[in-house]
Structure formats: structure tokens, C-alpha cells
């Protein structure tokens, strides 16, 4: 059971990432690879204990038919400096108004998590060498931001008026 940071709190999560694509799907509380999830989407209907994870090169648009049955979407950061999952999270929250958990997995590090939060992630599974406390201390961002983002949809210039 991984310890994650969710909504700013350190909690134990029931959901764990299944990294292997050929894993069995009969486990509970699993975050399945995208291809595994799609191959089995029909039989997973109605299961609220199964989520999915996408690698950074995968497109969140492929989840569109399944979003209403997914409690969690996890997005991978194979390396912290791969920013594609930031766009995937933004699209998930913004274009599809996905209201479930969006979890950052992979190389999730203190100095990056505030940007992830601003793009719509609300849960963070720390990288191996990071503690949940590191993540909590990294979540706090600057007092103001110029641009619109998922956490602050109104840009600063509209507050200046």
C-alpha cells in the first residue's frame, strides 16, 4: 500500500500501480497500464476499484469513453523533466472536466509538484528517494501566478482590474 500525498495530506492509498502490461486483471485496487485497461474495459465496467495509468507519450484522449467509470487516472513522469503529463492532466481536468483523482506517479519530486498541482494533479506518489514530507513541502507555490491554470482558472490580470 503506497503512502501518497493527496489533497495536501499524507495518506495510505489502496491503489497501487501495476507496471507490467501483461499482469492479471483480477487484483483489487489496481492502476492498470492503459493498453491492459482498454483491452479489458468491457469486463471492468462497474468496478470502482480499478484505475488506469498513462505513460507520458500516451494520449489522455483515448480514455474518453471510460472516464465516467474511472475513479483514478494516474499519469507517469518517467523523468521529472518530461512535461507531457502536465498537458495530459490539464486536458483531463479542463477538456473533460474529470473530477476523480489525478495522481502523479514516477519521478515525482519536491521541486516539481507545485507545477503538477497547478495542472490538475491532486495526488502524488513520491519518487523512491523522496519522502511524503518532501512532497508536502514542495506543494506550496508562490502567492500569485500570472496565467490561468487548473487550480486558478482566472488569470492575474483579471484580478488587477
Amino acid at each position: 500500500m503506497p503512502t501518497i500525498v493527496k489533497e495536501g495530506e499524507i495518506v495510505d492509498s489502496d491503489f497501487r500501480v501495476i507496471w507490467e502490461e501483461d499482469a492479471a486483471i483480477n487484483e483489487n485496487n489496481a492502476l492498470l497500464p492503459l493498453s491492459t485497461y482498454i483491452d479489458n474495459a468491457e469486463s471492468l465496467k462497474g468496478r470502482n476499484d480499478i484505475g488506469v495509468w498513462l505513460d507520458s507519450h500516451e494520449e489522455v484522449e483515448t480514455l474518453e469513453p471510460f472516464l465516467d467509470q474511472l475513479p483514478i487516472v494516474a499519469l507517469n513522469f518517467p523523468q521529472f523533466h518530461d512535461g507531457r503529463s502536465l498537458s495530459n492532466a490539464t486536458i483531463l481536468r479542463h477538456h473533460y472536466a474529470f473530477a476523480g483523482e489525478v495522481r502523479a506517479i514516477g519521478d515525482v519530486r519536491r521541486d516539481l509538484v507545485n507545477q503538477m498541482y497547478r495542472c490538475g494533479f491532486n495526488a502524488f506518489e513520491p519518487a523512491e528517494d523522496q519522502t511524503p514530507e518532501d512532497i508536502v513541502s514542495g506543494l506550496k507555490g508562490f502567492t500569485y501566478n500570472y496565467q490561468a491554470s487548473i487550480d486558478r482558472p482566472v488569470p492575474l490580470f483579471r484580478l488587477r482590474e
Binding site: G83, Q147, A148, S149, P155, F157
Partner: protein
């Protein structure tokens, strides 16, 4: 110029403290080398061959005299007494200590400056036209738009970890001095049916695979600038290549996808965001414009008879007037360029003393403002014509009156192998050797506009692809060689230079340039610019002349 309010100030102040904490954690061994590298790059700090290199943002090249004095202070106190203006209107220092960089950032924040996103794979400092607001041929002042882009791109959470660095340039004039066609995104102010808007370009760039940007949208109403940029960035962030850093720039994506498909994807993405709160309001556009109003010009005669006599008796002044002084839109005023291309001084380098002097001159002659140009020169944009002779005399005393603006010796040049760990070859000594060979001012003036651009490696910081004559340092079995190309241009008629042939040893370069120039002089027709002669003759006669 733009003045920070409490929001802008809070952001740069918090950024300083954030980087101080990151530096402390790195020095304490709590942050890995690799992680700190990415974080420090986003604060302008490189660690390389001889020493760190620290790059400070000068948004769209605009500086107040107070800010320039702060840069002089930083040069004096934290560095070795000089700085280097770059081809993207920034300034670099070469000798700061890593542990002192947070203090330098705090000094910068005290004068509303920063080093945010001056390196790293993120949206870099936005660049623009150094003559903005002062030049006659302007459709609209690009600076308010550049400032809006600066704010929007600063700490953008989605676009801070792009496949590769990302450079945006904005121009508002008919003549393009911002090289928008060779930027990742070029924003050109255009007028359609009486309405001002933007032509949006993408996929231009230099480096290994030079490319001219493609028009992605011919006319974008101005209120949509930021949402459209977000759509352009998102498509690149998702689909730009990340497996090979040499194929990661947006130019490769736009070419692979074709500009048409890239544009379709951008438009589809934009449909999702268009008209959302980030759509610019009239109030915000007015607020941005309010910082770039006209300075309090005096009502002056445009004709200044008192310049006639010094022009007649002082050839150096006359040369300077004809090369470095540009017509202003306001009667009785002139735009004055300070060419930082004194022979024997690396192009773009200025000492702390010179910075202080320019700051004083800006206070006395140009409403306390200075601009940095992408040709690595400085501009005083609003000088009374009656002050020109006095100003020239003062500049002459400080080595700032080189009358070679736009001439062959006004060389654009990267720091090269003397300073940069990426370089294959030195570039500064090549520039100096050329300047020494062409030391006859009469001859240079007769040649007229002729750009030489020198880069020490494929990364093309000296923009050699768009030089009329471009020189590129290459590595051949551990030795420094130079490839020469001709016919490039970075203005509105942007063109990529063609390679002449096999490369040369360093000491051959002045001869090669001389042969190219001699052929031009022999073959040019009345009033023909180098590029005209080149396009009329083609490359073969130049090859024959050089390799004969």
C-alpha cells in the same frame, strides 16, 4: 517601460528565496547534481568550461538607467568587471560564484529584474524590435504585447518542461529587426481591415537544422494572443520529439507534421480554450499599453542646421551619423546606436565603467532608457538631434562611438570556445582578425550594409545561417576549422545562407572574407547590396574566387 506592481514584485522576490533554498540544499548534498542542473538553468545559471555563466533576462531588450547601473555593479562586485550582451537581448556574466547567485538575483529583484527562464527547456525571454515606439515604419508598438507574453510565460506550469528551449519574438514594424522568422514562434503585428492583430508563425530556428518559420495563422484578433499561444505550446509539448535533443525543437515537429497539420491541431486545441478567462480584456490591453506611452518629447524643428558644420569638418562624426543614427518618428529626434564592436574587444562586451557611462548618457539624452539589440549593440532611442554632436564626443571618449553599425566589422559573434563548453572552435579571435583586416573606414562605408555572423558550433548562437556571410566553427579530428556560407538574411526577407564548400583553417578566414568581398565589389551594379549581387550571380562565382 513596464513598472512592477506588488504582484510582479512578490513573484520575483519569492523566486529568489526559492532558488536560495534550492542552492542551499544542493550545497548541502540534498539535491542531486542532475536535479539542481535543471533548476539552476531556469534561473540562468550554467556551469561550464572555465567558470559558471550566468544569464540575466532583459525583456525585449529594454533597460532603465537604474537597471543598467545595477548590471554595472554586478559586473564590478560579483564578476570581473565586464558583461556580454547576447543575440537575444540578454546579458551574460562569466565569473559569478555559484553560492553568490541567489544574492545577485536579490540585487536584480531590487530593480525589477530577474534571470527567470533564461536557459533550460522552457519559454525563454521574449525578444523584440530595439526601435519599438521610436521608428517610423511601425504598425503598432510590439512592447505591450511582448510584456503580456512575458507575464503569461513566466512560471507557466504546463510549459516549464518542454522537449527543448523555446524562443518567442515579436515585431510591430514592416522591417523585421526581431528576426521573427527564425524563432520557435514569431508574432508579427499586422493590420487587416483597420484592425490590428497578429500573424502567428511557428517552426523557425537556427541550430543544426535551420528553418524559416511557417505561417500558422494569418490573422489572430489581438484579444486571443495568450490562448492561441497556449494552444501552440500544448501541441508542441505533447508531440515534440524527446528522444533526440537534436530533433526536439518545434521546427522539426512542424516540418515532420507539415505546417498545415500542426495548424489544424493548434486550431482544434484552441477551440477548447478560446474565449476563456485568459482572453485579453480591453482593460488589460490598455494597462499594458499604458507603460509604453511616448516620452515627453519637446516640440522641435526636424531640421538642425548646427549639425552641418561638424558634419563637414569631422569625418568620424559624419561616418557615425550616416551609420549609427537612424531617423525617428518624432521631428527633431534621432535613434542612436552604440556599436559594441570596437576592434580587439569581443563583440557585445562592455565594461562596468562603460555601463555606468551609458546609464548617465541615457539619463541626460534619452529619457533614462537603453535598449539592447539582437546585433549585440545598444540603442538610445530618443535623442534630440541638437544633442547629437555632444553625445558623439562623449561616446568617443569611452570607446562607444564605433561608426560601424551594420558594416562588415559590426560582427555578430557568440562567446565561442574561449568561454563556452559547447563550442567546437573559438569565435572571438576570428571576429577580431576580420576586424583587423578591414580597418579602412572609407572602404567599409563604401561596402555598406554587410552582416558577418560567427558561431563556434552548430548551436548557432551567433546566427551564422542568417549572416550575409556566416562562419561556423567545426571540429575536424580535434582541430578547429571554419565553414563559410553566404547569402543569409534575418530581416523580413529572411533567407538561409548557402555553404560555400570545404572548411578553412582559422588564419585563412580573413583572406576568404576578403575574396568574397572583392568579388562583390568587382561585380556589383550601382546601388546593389551584397545580397542582390549574390542572388544575381549565384554561389558559383564566389566558390571560384575563394577556392581558386
Amino acid at each position: 517601460m513596464y513598472i512592477y506592481d506588488e504582484y510582479d514584485q512578490a513573484m520575483v522576490d519569492e523566486r529568489v528565496e526559492q532558488f536560495r533554498d534550492q542552492t542551499n540544499r544542493f550545497l548541502a548534498g540534498e539535491l542531486s547534481e542532475e536535479e539542481f542542473r535543471h533548476l539552476r538553468l531556469r534561473n540562468g545559471l550554467y556551469i561550464q568550461r572555465l567558470a559558471p555563466m550566468f544569464r540575466i533576462a532583459i525583456p525585449y531588450g529594454l533597460l532603465s538607467s537604474t537597471q543598467l547601473r545595477k548590471l554595472a555593479h554586478i559586473a564590478r562586485y560579483y564578476d570581473k568587471g565586464y558583461g556580454h550582451f547576447t543575440t537575444r537581448q540578454n546579458i551574460q556574466f562569466n565569473w559569478p560564484k555559484v553560492e553568490e547567485v541567489p544574492d545577485i538575483l536579490a540585487e536584480l529583484a531590487s530593480v525589477q529584474m530577474h534571470a527567470i527562464q533564461t536557459s533550460g527547456n522552457c519559454i525563454r525571454n521574449v525578444s523584440s524590435d530595439q526601435y519599438a515606439g521610436a521608428i517610423i515604419d511601425e504598425i503598432d508598438d510590439p512592447r505591450p504585447w511582448a510584456e503580456l507574453i512575458r507575464q503569461w510565460s513566466t512560471f507557466h506550469p504546463e510549459f516549464n518542461w518542454l522537449p527543448r528551449k523555446f524562443k518567442i519574438a515579436v515585431t510591430g514594424a514592416h522591417e523585421d529587426r526581431a528576426a521573427v522568422q527564425v524563432h520557435d514562434i514569431g508574432v508579427r503585428l499586422v493590420e487587416k481591415d483597420g484592425e490590428i492583430g497578429f500573424e502567428m508563425l511557428a517552426g523557425g530556428g537556427l541550430g543544426r537544422t535551420p528553418a524559416i518559420g511557417a505561417v500558422i495563422r494569418e490573422f489572430l484578433p489581438k484579444k486571443h494572443l495568450l490562448t492561441y499561444l497556449a494552444a501552440m505550446m500544448r501541441v508542441y509539448n505533447r508531440y515534440g520529439r524527446r528522444d533526440n535533443k537534436f530533433k526536439a525543437r518545434i521546427k522539426i515537429l512542424v516540418r515532420a507534421m507539415t505546417p498545415e497539420v500542426y495548424a489544424q491541431k493548434v486550431e482544434a486545441e484552441w477551440e477548447q480554450m478560446k474565449d476563456e478567462p485568459e482572453t485579453l480584456t480591453d482593460a488589460e490591453i490598455q494597462r499594458a499599453k499604458s507603460f509604453f506611452t511616448q516620452p515627453p518629447y519637446e516640440e522641435l524643428e526636424d531640421d538642425v542646421p548646427e549639425l552641418t558644420e561638424p558634419m563637414e569638418k569631422d569625418f568620424a562624426f559624419k561616418s557615425w551619423m550616416s551609420r549609427n543614427v537612424v531617423a525617428h518618428k518624432q521631428p527633431g529626434y534621432a535613434i542612436v546606436n552604440l556599436a559594441l564592436k570596437e576592434t580587439g574587444v569581443p563583440p557585445g562586451d562592455v565594461t562596468d565603467e562603460q555601463m555606468d557611462i551609458v546609464a548617465d548618457l541615457a539619463d541626460r539624452y534619452s529619457f533614462s532608457e537603453v535598449r539592447v539589440t539582437h546585433e549585440q549593440n545598444l540603442t538610445l532611442a530618443d535623442v534630440r538631434k541638437t544633442d547629437l554632436y555632444t553625445l558623439w564626443k562623449e561616446l568617443s571618449q569611452s570607446g562607444l562611438a564605433s561608426p560601424n553599425l551594420g558594416l562588415l566589422t559590426d560582427i555578430i559573434c557568440c562567446p565561442g570556445g574561449d568561454f563556452c563548453s559547447l563550442a567546437n572552435a573559438k569565435s572571438i579571435p576570428v571576429a577580431e582578425a576580420i576586424q583587423r583586416r578591414f580597418d579602412n573606414l572609407d572602404y567599409l562605408h563604401d561596402l555598406g550594409d554587410l552582416d558577418i555572423n560567427i558561431s563556434g558550433c552548430m548551436n548557432a548562437c551567433g546566427h551564422h545561417h542568417v549572416g550575409n556571410i556566416g562562419i561556423l566553427g567545426v571540429d575536424k579530428k580535434g582541430e578547429e576549422w571554419y565553414q563559410v556560407s553566404i547569402g543569409g538574411a534575418s530581416n523580413q526577407n529572411a533567407a538561409l545562407a548557402q555553404i560555400l564548400g570545404p572548411s578553412f583553417a582559422r588564419d585563412e578566414i580573413p583572406n576568404v572574407v576578403e575574396k568574397i568581398v572583392d568579388l562583390y565589389v568587382a561585380k556589383r551594379e550601382e546601388g546593389e547590396h551584397f545580397l542582390d549581387t549574390f542572388s544575381r550571380l549565384g554561389i558559383q562565382p564566389f566558390k571560384d574566387a575563394v577556392y581558386a
